[in-house]
Amino acid sequence: MKPVPAKVSVFRKILRGTGFFPFIVKRVLTSILLIFGMTFIAFSITQLVPGDPVAANLGQSAYSDPEIVAAFEKEFGLDQPVPVQYLRYIQKLSQGNLGISLSSKRPVNEDLKEYFPATLEIALVAVVIAMILGLLLGTISAITRDRLPDQIIRVVSLTGVSMPTFWTALVFFYVFFFLLGWSPGTGRLDPGAEPPPQVTGMFTIDALINGDFATFRQAFSYLLLPAIVLAIYALGVLTRFTRASVLEILGNDYVRTARAKGLPEFTVIRRHVLRPALLAIITVAGVAFASLMAGSVLVENVFSWPGLGQYAYRAAVGLDLPGIMGVSMVVATVYITMNLIVDILYRVIDPQLRKAEQ
């Protein structure tokens, strides 16, 4: 038998190893596999269900012209058998190419480059709002357990997770835009205002990079309301989760030990309770962030926010398969990446896990 080439064995060693580096390599590899696996599910589901993308995407008269229909099918590869379509898709995907959108007739990559940052922007602001408030409210709730503040926070956070987002968005828009005039309205910038030069695609950040504070303020004022609406659900989730985690940790022996040392309650909470709680909360926040991106469909619909959610909606309703796949891939990638980051963070923060690995 031929000797195993050195490169392979190093690779094997990494995969079999249990240290920090092999762990990361392994996690990244499984994440990539996961994403490819998902394309299969997405593809199967979208293929299994009926619906005619050609009809959905051609105008009335064009559709009756067989020549035009054939041209359209050829252009988007719809004339090929499904497995071939899938293989082609995978092949392109591995080169980072998500195909051409049926509805916008542009590469999905380009579409996403445009819409994704808009959603990322509100989702980030939303998750920051939800994290900060959720941590605060959840902790207060836990330490005032069963007393009035706790009761109030529990009902409020439960209400938060029970609100239909699309409805909340309407109510908030009506109140804060129409009645109170605090929000400038729909869209991302004033009509005709020049967006900042694209770096990240997030207007607030790009404006800052560009040193353009007026645009930053404008962009921020537009995104605040949708971000708040989007944050409500996540806030409810994080508050409840924080409360539960803090309560659980409060019941740990080491908290009793900390109290037995006569430390100020604030120190006990901050150092001995929140630190371990944070781990759990970060995990949930990571997942919440990914679900915010998906949840933005309904909010963006109301606020005419030109983001992934709107794009997803149009793609779905237009049976724009490459579009649907593209959105799904992006959201899934965010989700998987968040999980990956959280996992890594977990190891960095938690010495016990690190120890167990050695």
């Binding site: 009809a55 105008g59 009335q60 008269s61 916008s104 729909t186 869209g187 991302r188 049976l319």
Partner: protein, 504 residues
């Protein structure tokens, strides 16, 4: 004058795919392209009957309406300063024909030629009087052929594979209109700026922002006075807007209609709906007044399928009136009894001119049920419902028709047996010799008066025997800030942005 005063904001629900004239066939695209690209002929204001000079200063038609000669205005210049020549026209029209985009069918049967640099001739095999209307369509906008060719454009026969100018035309325009494209975003806004080298009367604004805004927000913005023009409000929504705006009321060119499938073999229900008695029962069951009231001020019952402003449109007195007794008798005679019958329509919140298909269907549904139909509403998103309609897979359907070109032939050529919509209704050629003969005569008649009479007669026969039941011609509303003048409502491009100016 401040910079802001020179910006016009137009709010509309985007129906937009691109600003390439050869590929764009949606309302928002038409509105924008009307300001970017000029056509040989055009219309003024809200009129859609009398063509006026565009790039062509003069034109003539031969006696049997098969040859149309246009003389290009020597002053006409593109935004880069070069002159408009017949070569540009030939290129643009052939490109439209050959890229096989949605509007390509406008060029069916038309050939273009250029005897000299200042003259263009369009010829057809059969008499086609509507060519003069067709050339006003923004899809036939004239492109600067050199610029477009330099950026991947071609008018060759295989243009559908080889033309690569689409992306270029999203970043920049290459027309001779009063505005040029500054930026294009499919979902948020399209920004136009003044063409400083325009050869005609200068543009009214330095900049026009066409924004994608949902109808409800258009209304709120109109009340607040933050928008300049709102395009999509229904008569209802146009009420109580306050003092900052005025409302331009017109009639939409769209007609909503109900049909019953004539495809006997499609389902249990269509075995009956193909029966003339069944159609009659439905036609007289409907409370048209109720629908018109729902459609709001300015809407009218559609007496026939041809909208009011086209030649040969029927008068209100010709309209069908509800007659429940007659409907019930017909219903009993048709034998459908308790067989359930579904009505297809555009379901996911689909609305045009502020009227929602779902609500209209609900209204019709109530009346049909009242005479005994066992109806079932089968709305679906456009992607699902439209194919069913197009493939004649509905039992009943509630849809609308907007003109592809502003001429009544568009209707005779689309709704007669064996034509496009006729087939969708399962109405095959040879089903009705009277109607078919009227159609043939109307299409070749060049005398204006005789044409109108034929169109009227065609519609009256349609109302007697066709599976088609015209329902309502909605009002078309443009709400405009008082700082703006020149707003009108046009059936093809809605608002003529080229004509809009700041109030003095």
């Amino acid at each position: 004058v401040s910079a802001a005063a020179k910006t016009l904001t137009v709010e509309t629900v985007f129906q937009l795919t691109s600003t390439d004239p050869a590929r764009s066939f949606e309302q928002t695209g038409n509105m924008i392209n009307r300001a970017l690209y000029e056509t040989l002929l055009t219309y003024k204001g809200g009129d859609a009957a009398t063509p006026v000079p565009g790039v062509a200063s003069k034109w003539s038609v031969n006696a049997n309406a098969t040859e149309f000669t246009f003389t290009i205005n020597p002053k006409a210049k593109f935004s880069d300063g070069t002159k408009v020549t017949s070569a540009d026209v030939v290129f643009s029209l052939n490109r439209l024909k050959n890229v096989k985009g949605n509007p390509s069918s406008l060029m069916n049967g038309i050939t273009v030629s250029a005897p000299d640099a200042g003259t263009v001739v369009l010829t057809t095999a059969n008499p086609t009087p509507q060519v003069l209307a067709i050339v006003t369509s923004p899809a036939l906008g004239i492109l600067n052929s050199k610029v477009v060719k330099a950026n991947g454009g071609t008018d060759a026969a295989d243009a559908k594979d080889t033309d690569k100018a689409l992306d270029f035309l999203k970043t920049q325009s290459a027309g001779s209109g009063p505005y040029i494209l500054k930026s294009f975003n499919l979902t948020t806004e399209v920004v136009l700026v003044k063409n400083t080298k325009y050869w005609g009367t200068a543009a009214g604004y330095d900049q026009i922002v066409v924004r994608n805004v949902p109808v409800n927000v258009q209304r709120l913005n109109a009340i607040k006075g933050t928008s300049s023009i709102a395009v999509d409000l229904s008569p209802d929504q146009a009420e109580g807007l306050g003092s900052k705006v005025y409302v331009v009321e017109g009639k939409a060119s769209n007609v909503f209609f109900l049909y019953l499938s004539q495809n006997k073999d499609f389902s249990a229900a269509t075995a009956f709906t193909s029966n003339a008695k069944c159609v009659e029962a439905a036609r007289y069951a409907i409370n048209y007044n109720k629908i018109v009231r729902y459609a709001g001020r300015g809407a009218v019952q559609a007496p026939g399928i041809i909208p009011s402003f086209f030649s040969g449109a029927l008068k209100a007195k010709d309209a069908i009136k509800q007659d429940t007794a007659r409907a019930k008798t017909a219903f009993d005679a048709c034998g459908i009894k308790d067989t359930p019958v579904s009505i297809g329509f555009w379901g996911d919140g689909g609305a045009v001119n502020g009227l929602s298909f779902a609500s209209l269907t609900a209204l019709v549904d109530e009346d049909l049920r009242a005479v005994g139909f066992k109806t079932k509403l089968a709305g679906a998103p456009i992607a699902v419902s439209l194919p069913l309609y197009r493939e004649n897979k509905e039992e009943m359907g509630l849809w609308l028709w907007g003109p592809d070109w502003p001429d009544s032939t568009n209707y005779t050529e689309s709704f007669s047996p064996g034509t496009k919509v006729g087939l969708r209704m399962g109405w095959k050629a040879g089903s009705d010799s009277v109607i078919e003969e009227l159609r043939a005569r109307a299409s070749t008649e060049t005398n204006t008066k005789k044409r109108a009479a034929l169109f009227r007669e065609w519609q009256i026969e349609m109302n007697k025997r066709s599976p088609l039941i015209p329902l309502v011609q909605p009002a078309a509303i443009v709400v405009s800030n008082k700082s703006v003048v020149g707003t009108s409502d046009h059936p093809i491009w809605k608002v003529n942005l080229a004509e809009v100016r700041p109030a003095k």
